[in-house]
């Protein structure tokens, strides 16, 4: 198990990072749709939803890149999990309120026909990605990461050696 841990971490990193990068890329290409998708959740005031719709794809791209190359893994994983949990909450409330929207996760979005909603699948998928993020927060040391040690662990070891 101990040996498998960094490998599981690698898979978690590439999956979570890959999906963030891909989703961000698709949305960054179609900002109109992305803004529309955020507005359709009816959670934020329109002007804020529009800004969020434009900025979010770029944050996803950044987080995705950092996860894939393996830098600041724990912090990015915290961001990624928080994002996924936010999505789960947003989709759940849309479902509960009876809105019929596309989640807008991959560059689509907006109001759609009620028969085409996929709330449960989307929620389960995002919970899965959130769990991958939790795994990386707990075990940030993974195979083939550019950063070999997690910064959090560096400082105490530094500070302790001279004192002891």
């Amino acid at each position: 198990m101990k040996k498998a841990q960094p490998w599981i971490g690698l898979i978690a990193r590439l999956s979570l990072g890959g999906v963030l990068l891909y989703a961000g890329y698709l949305k960054a290409l179609t900002p109109d749709k992305s803004m529309m998708a955020v507005r359709a959740y009816e959670l934020l005031p329109i002007w804020l939803a529009n800004i969020f719709g434009v900025v979010l794809p770029w944050l996803e791209i950044g987080a995705g890149v950092l996860l894939i190359i393996g830098i600041a893994i724990r912090y990015v994983a915290i961001f990624g999990s928080a994002l996924m949990i936010t999505f789960v909450i947003a989709i759940s409330q849309a479902w509960a309120r009876g809105l019929s929207i596309d989640c807008g996760c991959f560059g689509d979005g907006g109001a759609i026909d009620p028969s085409q909603t996929k709330y449960l699948e989307t929620i389960l998928r995002d919970i899965g990605f959130a769990l991958l993020g939790f795994y990386l927060i707990r075990y940030p040391l993974t195979k083939f990461a550019l950063e070999k040690r997690e910064s959090r662990q560096e400082k105490p070891s530094h500070a302790l050696t001279p004192g002891e």
């Binding site: 900002p31 109109d32 529009n50 794809p57 950044g62 190359i69 907006g110 070999k148 530094h158």
Partner: protein, 230 residues
């Protein structure tokens, strides 16, 4: 101090990479926010009113008649269906001066929507918007298949009697690209989240709720009722 690999260079690389990623994210996001803003110095086609969400207005001078705002994307098949269902009726309302009609051509489906919306604005300058609009939907090409080109749009224009050199240049030069972007920005502000979205006197008409119910969008008599009131 420890037996681990040297940390100096590792940290430098780390911070450098983080810095680069943060920079790309910031530049991308800021550029994106700015380019999706309204540009008040953009060239406007004739019969466009900034106060009407940059829409192309028919019968703007009439008062006391219903106001129909149509938000659509030229590449949206459901908009083609709306046009098929109610297009002739709406044109009749315009001709007989029984309604004020505002067309808002969104472009969120992709670059070919921008080309089409721009060409429609060029057609508006020739007083041929309605003909062009109808002809485009009648021959709706598959979404972003590469079918909508300058030649295609100029040909479509010729089909409805636009032969001027000015139209050609306007289509080829994307003269109204800034305006197309402004329409999109106005749609974001108006919270238009799907196409077609139709408002009558500022109130959205009723959407279909199930397979058998066509709502006011796709049942011509229901739409006419919504326009004429009560």
């Amino acid at each position: 101090m420890s037996s681990k690999a040297p940390q100096g260079p590792d940290n430098v690389t780390r911070n450098l990479v983080i810095g680069m990623v943060v920079l790309v994210v910031a530049v991308g996001a800021i550029f994106s926010v700015i380019s999706n803003r309204e540009n008040t110095s953009a060239a406007l086609p004739s019969s466009v009113s900034q106060d009407e969400g940059y829409g192309i207005v028919f019968n703007g001078d009439l008062t006391g008649v219903p106001v129909i705002d149509i938000w659509e994307d030229f590449q949206c098949p459901v908009c083609a269906r709306f046009e098929q269902t109610n297009g002739d009726y709406i044109e009749k309302l315009i001709e007989e001066k029984k309604a004020k009609v505002v067309y808002h051509t969104l472009s969120f489906l992709g670059p070919e929507s921008v080309l089409a919306a721009n060409a429609a604005a060029c057609a508006s300058d020739e007083n041929k918007f309605l003909g062009f609009h109808k002809a485009f939907y009648q021959n709706l090409p598959a979404e972003n298949s590469g079918a909508v080109t300058t030649d295609y749009l100029v040909g479509l224009g010729q089909g409805v009697g636009i032969t001027s050199e000015k139209f050609k240049n306007c289509v080829a030069g994307l003269n109204y690209q800034g305006w197309v972007n402004n329409v999109a920005a106005a749609g974001s502000e108006k919270n238009v989240n799907s196409t077609p979205t139709v408002f009558i006197n500022g109130k959205e008409i009723r959407r279909a709720t199930s397979g058998t119910d066509l709502g006011e969008y796709f049942d011509p008599s229901a739409f006419a009722k919504a326009v004429e009131g009560k």
